[in-house]
């Protein structure tokens, strides 16, 4: 008969053993192939998907020091065509000695052709993979996803990782609206929803100047031109099909309106000197919506933006002591109103509710939403958008007055 202490020890060991990997399935990190990005393009036949996986292979015994960098990252992109993601991953696995590991997956890129035909099937395929996190970022490529995965980076070591860093810091640099796989599922699950937007990734020739990369000129050993990735605006979707796009500037407005960005910037005419310019920074942007039913079936959405302004750059002189801040606030108000109104007009022209006004009506007036929901896409283009911008200059820095170049 075992003693009490022995029994307790056995029980404790059994309990703690669940917290550890089993001996039979333990794996060294160097035996794994972490997939850092997945690209999904339309296949050569209608029933096929072209799947690319970008793997960052950890080098056994690798380290930093001289010569480390892009050459030591050991990035590899493999591409296969398959009917499903499962089949594609099996085919990819057959071409890799190491086991694929998805917990380091950083982003998924959808090709332009696939996005224009519909992303529904590809999104469905991604949802149930246990290692693919819902917080994985999603993008569309200006051309093919495979090209984006092959592109090099001027900043980060992983192609695409620098772009995802820019996207993640969207609140301070709203170059794109951050979208995750979970956001995609939420946007596509609602019947009739046209709220899906995805950042567009474009390519341009890599031109390195710092000399800390090898090869420094942005070309490969055989003179192949390396490409780098950059944000090119936002793709707007009707259900799951890419039908229109926003420029980077319009994307900033969209990011603010959906609450993803709290900061922004603009450049406008100096109200004191029309030859000069004013470049205020917008801080603490707070957006609120008020929905009014002005007549049966006629909706008015009042978008109110309260903005704190930081003045850091004025060309053509300005003396806040003499002129007060009211002229600046009036100019900023006009600028914000124009930008937001223009965006709503563009979205209404395409019949796309990318700002998710429908959801805001549902949140504020659920009873009204129940009446509108079925015909929302027909009602949406006739919604009257009223923009109320309330800018307030909060910071002038330590400047007493902005000097004007003496003539």
């Amino acid at each position: 008969m075992l003693s009490k202490i022995t029994c307790r020890l056995i029980a404790l060991l059994l309990l703690t053993s669940f917290c550890l990997v089993g001996c039979w399935d333990s794996e060294e990190i160097t035996s794994l192939a972490p997939v850092v990005a997945i690209g999904i393009d339309a296949g050569s036949e209608p029933n096929l998907m072209r799947i690319s996986a970008q793997m960052a292979l950890p080098a056994a015994g690798g380290g930093g020091g001289a010569g480390s960098g892009a050459a030591h990252t050991r990035l590899r992109v493999l591409t296969v065509e398959a009917k499903s993601l499962t089949q594609a991953f099996a085919l990819l696995q057959s071409r890799t000695r190491r086991r694929h590991f998805f917990l380091h997956l950083n982003h998924v890129v959808f090709g332009a052709q696939l996005a224009r035909h519909g992303l529904g099937r590809a999104t469905e395929a991604l949802q149930a993979w246990p290692q693919i996190r819902g917080s994985t970022l999603a993008f569309v490529s200006e051309e093919t996803a495979e090209q984006v995965l092959h592109a090099h980076s001027g900043i980060g070591q992983d192609p695409g990782s620098d772009i995802s860093h820019i996207i993640r810091s969207v609140s301070s640099a709203p170059l794109a609206r951050k979208m995750t796989l979970n956001d995609m599922i939420n946007a596509l699950s609602s019947p009739g929803s046209t709220t899906l937007t995805l950042p567009i990734l474009g390519l341009r020739p890599l031109a390195l100047t710092s000399g800390d990369e090898n090869p420094a000129a942005g070309v490969g050993i055989d003179g192949e031109q390396y490409m780098e990735v950059q944000p090119k605006g936002t793709a707007l979707f009707e259900r799951d099909r890419w039908v229109a796009e926003l420029s980077v500037r319009e994307t900033q407005t969209l990011a603010v309106l959906v609450g993803d960005a709290k900061r922004g910037m603009s450049t406008m005419v100096n109200p004191e000197n029309p030859e000069g310019k004013l470049a205020p920074q917008y801080e603490r942007i707070r957006v609120s919506y008020r929905v009014n039913e002005t007549a049966p079936g006629q909706l008015q959405v009042v978008t109110r933006l309260r903005v704190d302004i930081r003045l850091v750059e004025i060309h053509g002189g300005y003396d806040p002591q003499l002129s007060d801040t009211a002229p600046i606030e009036a100019t900023v108000k006009q600028d914000i109103t124009n930008r937001v109104s223009a965006l709503f007009q563009k979205l209404q022209a395409h019949g796309l509710d990318s700002v998710n006004i429908g959801q805001r009506i549902k949140q504020q007036k659920p009873k009204l939403w129940r009446q509108l929901e079925a015909d929302w896409l027909q009602i949406y283009p006739s919604v009257e958008f009223v923009v109320e911008a309330v800018p307030k200059v909060r910071t002038l820095g330590l400047i007493k007055n902005f000097y004007r170049l003496g003539e």
Binding site: L15, F18, W24, R133, G134, S135, N186, Q364
Partner: protein, 365 residues
Amino acid sequence: MKQKTLVHSLQAALVIFASTIGTVYFPLAAVLIPFVSTASWYVVLIAFLLTTLWTLLSTWLAKQAPAGNFGVAVETWLGPILGKVFLLWFAAYWFLLSIGVLSEVSFVFHIVALPATPIGVLQVAFLFLVIYTDLYGIETCIRNIQALLMLAIPLMLSFLLTAFAAARWTNLLPLLDASLVDMVKATYYISPYPLAGILTTLFLAVQVQDQEQIGIKSVLFHWLAGLLLALIVAVTIAVLGCCVTESYVYPTIPLAQSINIGDTLVGVEILVYPLWLLSGYIKSAIAFVIASATVAALFPAFKQPWRAWGLGLIVLVVAMLPANLREVGRLLNICNFHLGIPFYLVIPVIAIGVKLKKGRKQHAK
């Protein structure tokens, strides 16, 4: 049957809290959303407030029986024949719950954390722990749960705190959009969850030393469990959104996987996997120990260690029968809805019967 087990009211209340929470916080949000969408979190609160009456009835019943043994208490309330039927039903509920939870925990842990480990290995290991707990009886089980809660509660709070940072609270709007009918339906579907706590109260309240304290403490911990579950549901919806939450069986796991704070705090599931283990062990151990103690009251000749090993063998065989999580869900539904829900009718009926009997006795005097 003659053996008396006496525990402190606070210990009993902690076990009531643990058996109510159990593994419930993993699927709860997904169960509610199809009915009441964004109203899910306060429907949990309503359900727990409504079921407070049954908790109070359970503690009142305990005071009407001699302290120390559940079997004796049931016979005092119902007499020898009805008492035996009730005990058999009570044992069947807990026994099936123990099987269901053990099977569920093993399946989920196999899917999310140890895909290379056979489910049978996990089930045997879990069962060994549960049997080992039962061999030492209810008092050891209670102390064990007390100790494990000291680990589980900080883990759960840390997890919730990280989820708070990733929450988008506008996902909880509109607040008052659910119809009364939908709220009633949703409350019915989640009513088995507070029931586990109510039946634990019924079982433990007769074994409490300071019975005057158990009423207030069990109600407080019942509410605390409801509050925590409501908070978890609210945070899950706030982070994942209704559509994503609804599309998973256990949305707490994708919730943990989705948390990404500033690209720094990721992989929060590292907190959830131990939580799943601890919760699974706590719930299945309580269920098994209560089932075993009730069987002991029914068949006094069936003594330890044979009782624990015998019941354990049955648990193992039945737990291995479901081929997938869907079948485990069906097994748990049979336990919760066919065996569990009728207790909501029976407990007040017993209380009325006991009250009438008491009244007649006083009248006769």
